[in-house]
Assembly symmetry: C2
Homo-oligomer: 221 residues x 2
């Protein structure tokens, strides 16, 4: 059941957090994200919105230092992979099929306390769109897009909690997939995020933030 409406965050707090964040290049390897904060960030991932609510992804949190060391060369040696407090590999469902949709529908039925049969129209809409419809031709890209919503949620939530983060596309997906055994599970890595606390020496923390002019990015119609 949704909770009551929260007290709105002051606008200046949002501004401060979003201008404070940057793609951290160098982490303080000695600082770990407290367990309660990490649990809140995992909840952000779980509660992320997705089309139809399908959640066509998994989040691999790499706790094992040996696995992170193996991932390092697959990420072109970017040290965030081993020095950040936490590392998440976002993996998108591959070849979304009826079996996956049925599993999701069973989950909806259970949570909402209704028979799965009563959701047949919903099921058929999803299957007709993503499994047998024209979007199936690029359903793996569709799944990746959903994972990127969760990436955005995570980056914003982390900034608000005062936790640094680095979104990372700079890795070799087939190598990461192999190290984590993702193909056998029907998933493929699409993006990563390192999280933790910036090192005092990270010169990028003080670099002016570059954005295209607002007049180019936002068009009022």
């Amino acid at each position: 059941m949704p909770t009551a409406q929260p007290a709105p965050l002051p606008l200046t707090d949002l501004h401060t957090a979003l201008t404070w964040r940057y793609a951290t290049k160098k982490y303080d390897a000695a600082r770990k994200i407290p367990a309660a904060s990490w649990a809140a960030l995992e909840e952000t991932l779980v509660l992320s919105a997705s089309s139809y609510g399908l959640q066509p992804y998994r989040f691999y949190v790499i706790d094992d230092a040996a696995v992170r060391a193996r991932l390092l060369p697959a990420a072109y040696g970017q040290t965030q992979v081993v020095e950040a407090s936490h590392l998440v590999v976002f993996a998108a469902k591959q070849g979304l099929d009826e079996t996956y949709v049925e599993h999701f529908i069973a989950c909806v039925a259970e949570v909402r306390g209704v028979p799965a049969d009563s959701l047949k129209g919903y099921r058929d809409t999803i299957v007709g769109d993503l499994v047998t419809g024209p979007r199936h031709a690029w359903v793996d890209h569709w799944a990746a897009r959903q994972a990127y919503i969760a990436l955005g949620d995570l980056l914003t939530s982390a900034a608000l909690l005062g936790i640094d983060a680095t979104p990372m596309e700079g890795f070799v997906p087939p190598k990461v997939d192999e190290i984590l055994g993702l193909a056998a599970q029907g998933y493929a890595s699409v993006v990563c995020a390192a999280l933790g606390y910036r090192h005092a020496d990270d010169k990028y923390a003080k670099a002016p933030k570059v954005r295209l002019p607002v007049s180019e990015l936002i068009k009022h119609v």
Copy 2:
């Protein structure tokens, strides 16, 4: 210049906001988002992270009621398009090319106060990856993914500000592109978001939130 670190948001506030939010089906058409809050949400879009910082997207904010009425059938008649306080069409850059990269590099040079020549390595890396490299084959999907990060940022920020939102893939992109004249500008619609305030009658506000089991979504390695 990045600002000082903000006071971290209490974990319970994040939890409350993310469990309060849901994909709003019915909006209170009489309630408008205050200008200052909307400005903060536009800033969230502008400050969104993207690969290389390229921001291969535009955000079309549809203020004109007549345009929103024309978009309604293109979105299968979903009333959020006309009843929500605000509507944003996320449009991804199509066929990212050297010209776009040069424009971005010129922007970086200006903001950082360095000659564009000094950024040649950075420029060449981007071009070699996204324009002449293997990822160019799906660069429009790549651009869409970046836009979805901004969607995630927007959804999370809105929830924290106590503003309702609806991510929407349920529309006919070519129709939306035609109504907004996007193709001539080199962009294509990939997702929309309606924002405003839930109607008291929206039964979905009280429906239990459905998520796959955490043990399926998050894998610790």
